[in-house]
Amino acid sequence: MSDDPVSTFQFLGLTFSTANVVSGLVVFLLVVAVVFFTSRKLAMKPTKGQNFLEWLIDFTNGILKGSIPAGDVGKFGLWGFTLFLFLFLSNEIGLFIQVATRSGATIMRSPTSDPIATLTFSLMTMMIAQFAGVWKLGYKAHFANYMKPFVFWLPISIFEEFTNFLTLGLRIFGVIFSGEMLLGVIWDLAVSHGIVTMIIALPIEMAWQGFSAFLGAIQAFVFVTLSSVYISQKLELEE
């Protein structure tokens, strides 16, 4: 799959991957649609859509409350909600829709099966953590945290930032990318020897799709959880 041609285009001197832009846009529109249609006719007594939306908000707030101090959860609520919804739909969409051009370049798949997308979100989390630390503790206390428990811990602290950044982004990428790759492999198996392999491959495909759907949800949850943990680490003074 890594040998496949990649469709790219240039814009403002930057290189864009068509697949990332198209699938990112589709997920964006999906999130907007979900949020828009569930938030119509808000009432004190919630109905179907509103119930779902409120449950989702409570769910993501619950994830944040797990690690961020209760007084600060409100400031990260919107971010956590958006991140979870976007990542969840990103993880799932590639399982159902995959589009490729005639030459073999994919233009529609999970946005999170590309490391550049996941690492972007990971970088965003790290930056939010830095900003939150400075906002909460001030510059001095924030950067002093890197030299705890003693001054020589500084290189390890800095290195930890990079490992956090990489593991956070690559974990979700790995799971989603491998899930989609295996779906592709099973598809190759299905079409290899006509109807016989098709019948054999069908249950395997279904099982793997279900498992991937589950993994996609888990990974979105894990990403938001770990992000809130990284942020909460920056919000408190280390002893």
């Binding site: 814009f11 990332n20 964006f28 509103q50 939306l53 609520g77 590309d114």
Partner: protein, 171 residues
């Protein structure tokens, strides 16, 4: 696909920028359409529930105090009614005695008056009867005397009339 990360290959920084911008835009859209109104609604609901609990507690205590007040008023009115009834009783007793005494006194007076009147009437009747008897006896006597005189003393009677006439003229 991992080849993106290998140094020397093209890194799609444009995608990074695209995702950051779209994420921020998404956050903004969600805030306007859903997050703001929904969290406000959830907060309103929480406030309403706590208000309802408070007001329920308040109305419960209100009702309790109202019951207490009513009980007190009831007891008060009962004792008041008792007082009124006993007052009325004593008043009635007094009035009855007064009326009876008054009546007795009236009867006494009327009796005395009646006796006086009867005595008066009796005296009057007696004197009337006495006069009548005197008149009657005089008339009877005069009639008897007249009949005896007719035959014998016509002349004397005429004389007496004439004399009477003369006396009437004189007077």
């Amino acid at each position: 696909m991992l080849s993106h990360l290998v140094v020397g290959q093209t890194l799609y920084f444009g995608d990074s920028l695209f995702y950051i911008i779209s994420f921020v835009l998404l956050m903004w859209i969600i805030k306007i359409f859903a997050w703001g109104p929904v969290t406000k609604m959830m907060q309103d609901r929480a406030d309403k529930i706590s208000n309802d609990i408070d007001s329920a507690e308040k109305s419960r205590t209100d009702a309790a105090s109202l019951v207490e007040k009513r009980q007190a008023a009831l007891a008060n009115s009962r004792s008041e009614a008792q007082t009124i009834v006993s007052d009325a009783k004593t008043n009635g007793q007094q009035q009855r005695e007064q009326i009876v005494t008054q009546a007795q006194a009236d009867v006494q007076t009327m009796k005395q008056n009646a006796q006086k009147d009867i005595e008066q009437e009796r005296q009057d009747a007696l004197s009337d009867a006495r006069n009548d008897v005197a008149d009657l006896s005089i008339e009877i006597a005069s009639k008897i005397i007249q009949r005896e005189l007719k035959a014998d003393d016509q002349k004397a009677l005429i004389d007496s009339y004439i004399e009477g006439l003369g006396k009437q003229h004189e007077s």
